[in-house]
Symmetry: none
Subunit: 111 residues, 2 copies
């Protein structure tokens, strides 16, 4: 969750998420919408992928990125539940689990 929050904090990454929120796009396609170079976009996509906010599909030499709805839903839900004390421990636990899951490079079962 910490990774997702930091990923969304970047304006460029938010624009990228908005671009791939419905359709999948290649890296070059995404890069055309910005003034920065393609490698910079690749690095942003890596951050988004580590935060599990996007998924990738390989097709030949091309890589199609797409927003991962579950990750975004988790982030939104965490945001909404930030205020209630009853959900505090839950949020912390989820954050810890996802941190461990990321370190172990394994997929976590979603709610």
């Amino acid at each position: 969750m910490d990774a997702a929050a930091r990923a969304v904090a970047e304006p460029t990454r938010r624009e990228i998420l908005h671009l791939v929120r419905h359709d999948e796009r290649t890296v070059s396609d995404i890069a055309e919408h910005f003034d920065i170079t393609r490698p910079a976009i690749s690095q942003h996509l890596r951050v988004l992928a580590d935060a599990e906010l996007v998924t990738v599909r390989n097709e030949g030499t091309r890589r199609y990125y797409r927003a991962r709805p579950e990750g975004l839903a988790e982030l939104t839900e965490w945001m909404a539940g930030f205020w209630t004390s009853s959900l505090r421990s839950l949020a912390i636990e989820v954050e810890r689990e996802q941190w461990n899951a990321r370190k172990q490079q394994q997929r976590k079962s979603k709610k």
Copy 2:
């Protein structure tokens, strides 16, 4: 909006927000919960205040900080509205449930 997203990206600031989410607290009071110095807390509070996520009340030499619910609500709503309409309504539903739970001041765990 951009300021709010950046403010929440910091773990320390999220903890601060959590501390003042219900009761107002002084800077020294907040600083006692962390290992960092009081000026560092002041700087974090300034970021949160600039993002309009907290409000201040002066009383003598003391400054009481408190979370500003509207600020977080805007952030949550923006997050929810970032994607598809289906996810949006889901997130709003969750938010409404938790708002009701908070109003009831009950400690029961909710979904």
